[in-house]
């Protein structure tokens, strides 16, 4: 048994000292020479070998190179012939050496931006704005000594000029392919260029158009609470191609009425050749300033840029939208609707008068602090309110002709005016 083990160990050490090559059936020893195979000129052929771990590896000869060294002892030799013909080189691994041989078949050398490409190489047309054309030139060079006939050329991108097939390239000559593509969406778009069955990857990146600086224009000289303001977004220059962006609104306070036509965000487009944003069917969008004082921030976001504009709505006296006094039996009801953009406790004065306009009693003042506080804590409607003040009348209520109402907050007093009773 010990003799068998010793023989196996001896055989293993002999194998370890040899150069092995990877095949479909695993690694096998090579002799003093090894044929790596054939490839078309310009296309690499990689062959994986295995030698003693840590040995020096070198290859000497045109068309061959050591591609990668992979522990433990594996390495790749690349056969990359530039032109048609037979090639050989001396591969040395430590104290061992092998003659490697290869054959190059004639094929056009595909050159892009001055660099020869091998099969599977990338032809990148770069980045262009969506809707604009990217183009490039690919050269098919014949570096062999005889004419090359290319029977087929296909491309997922367009040929800017028609290609006559079969294409014959004389020795030392070259043919030109002009490729063009217009990305219709942002992002990477890829395709395949096939030249006599050899494929190359085509790439182009569509980018969203960059726009010139935006400007938010309003139709109001000053912006206050309770307004509906028309906004336009204008750009310094016309868009070269159709572009898009968003208008976003932020508000420092709590008021759902502060909004654009479409809420807090509006999408817009800029047609090619225009410098005005389109919101659906309109060049304008509405900004509702709401019923609470605060800072309204608008942001115009377009690819690669952001422009801001702020509007400060300042505290103001109570605004009354509707006021009405009615007689309901033995009571008089005063109904007011409006907003207080300070959301404070407004005080009110009521002065009743008879039908001749003579005052009835003194001015009644009331500041229902708790009611206001409770209302604003729960209403969820900014500073907007509707109130009913009910006055019981002793005597003939029909003799009351009018009531003059004023309402005041911390900023100032609002004269609602005289409300006639029907």
């Amino acid at each position: 048994m010990m003799r068998v083990i010793s023989l196996l160990l001896c055989a293993a050490s002999v194998l370890a000292a040899q150069i092995l090559v990877e095949t479909a059936d695993g690694f096998r020893p090579v002799g003093t020479s090894y044929v790596v195979g054939s490839t078309t000129s310009g296309d690499p052929l990689d062959v994986r070998f295995r030698g003693p771990a840590g040995a020096n590896i070198a290859v000497a000869g045109v068309g061959f190179s050591v591609r990668a060294i992979l522990p433990p002892g594996d390495f790749t030799v690349r056969f990359l012939p530039e032109a048609e013909g037979s090639y050989s080189a001396n591969l040395s691994v430590g104290s061992w050496s092998v003659i490697v041989r290869g054959t190059a078949l004639a094929a056009a050398t595909v050159v892009h931006q001055g660099e020869p490409l091998h099969q599977g190489g990338v032809i990148d047309l770069g980045s262009v704005e969506v809707g604009t054309a990217a183009s490039t030139t690919v050269l098919l060079q014949n570096r062999s000594s005889r004419a090359l006939t290319i029977p087929s050329i296909t491309s997922d991108f367009l040929f800017a000029e028609p290609v006559a097939l079969p294409l014959v390239v004389e020795p030392g000559g070259e043919a030109t392919l002009r490729l063009t593509v217009t990305p219709e969406a942002a992002g990477l778009r890829s395709g395949v260029l096939s030249i006599a069955g050899r494929t190359f990857e085509l790439r182009v990146t569509g980018t969203l158009p960059r726009l010139s600086e935006a400007r938010i224009v309003t139709d109001a000289a000053t912006v206050t609470s309770g307004q509906q303001v028309r906004l336009r977004i204008e750009f310094a220059e016309v868009a070269r191609s159709t572009a898009a962006g968003t208008l976003e609104l932020e508000f420092s306070g709590e008021d759902p009425a502060v909004r654009l036509s479409t809420g807090r965000v509006a999408s817009f487009s800029i047609p090619a050749g225009s410098n005005v944003a389109r919101f659906g069917e309109s060049d304008e969008i509405m900004l509702q300033t709401g019923t609470v004082a605060g800072l309204i921030r608008l942001r115009v976001k377009t690819p690669g840029s952001e422009v801001r504009r702020e509007f400060q709505t300042v505290l103001q006296p109570v605004a009354i939208d509707e006021a009405k006094a009615t007689r309901e039996g033995a009571t008089i009801v005063v109904a007011l609707s409006g907003f207080d953009n300070s959301r404070g406790a407004s005080s009110m004065n009521f002065q009743f008068a008879d039908k001749a306009g003579n005052p009835l009693g003194s001015v009644f003042s009331v500041t229902p602090e708790n009611e206001w506080k409770s209302y604003y804590q729960t209403s969820g409607l900014g500073g907007a309110f509707r109130l009913r003040a009910v006055f019981p009348v002793a005597g003939n209520a029909s003799l009351v002709g009018s009531v003059t109402v004023a309402i005041a907050n911390a900023v100032g007093r609002t004269e609602v005016g005289k409300l006639n009773l029907p």
Binding site: G226, Q228, Q288, T291, D354, L360, L387, A394
Partner: protein
Amino acid sequence: MRYLVFFISLIAFGQIEAPRIGFWRDAQNRVRPLHGVAGSFVPGAALREGVLAFAWYGDGGWLRSETEIERLDASGATVARLPGGAVRFSETGVWLTEQNVAYRWDGESLKNVSVEETEFAVPEEDAEAIAKDWWHVRLRGRSYAVRMTPGREARFEIPEAADDESD
């Protein structure tokens, strides 16, 4: 006049509430409340869907669905029904235009009345009443509230409802 005595205790002053203009039908045929005051609107959540025509006058209104016409009371409850079809509304009247028949709501039931076309006039084509003196019109894909209060006529845009912003 001086003998009038006012008891100043504002017995019902606690009635401070969120203002509401009225109700309207949005572009998706949903009826919604329109909260707020003029120019500061907040559309509320949809209350009815599939509404093909609508009118609200503050203390009642009308609604046409695919199958019928409904008279609504001040709370929005249906108090009377008619077969569906082309229709025009007024504050208390309904005109079935294909049959050229009109009915009037008298507070208790619908009574057949003669058609007076002027009663059913609207300030703009396809306008629908939102409230007394308020009308809703649609123009280039947007909704507007038109105030017809004498001396205070104005047109305001109704912003999209919060639950409609992704539509």
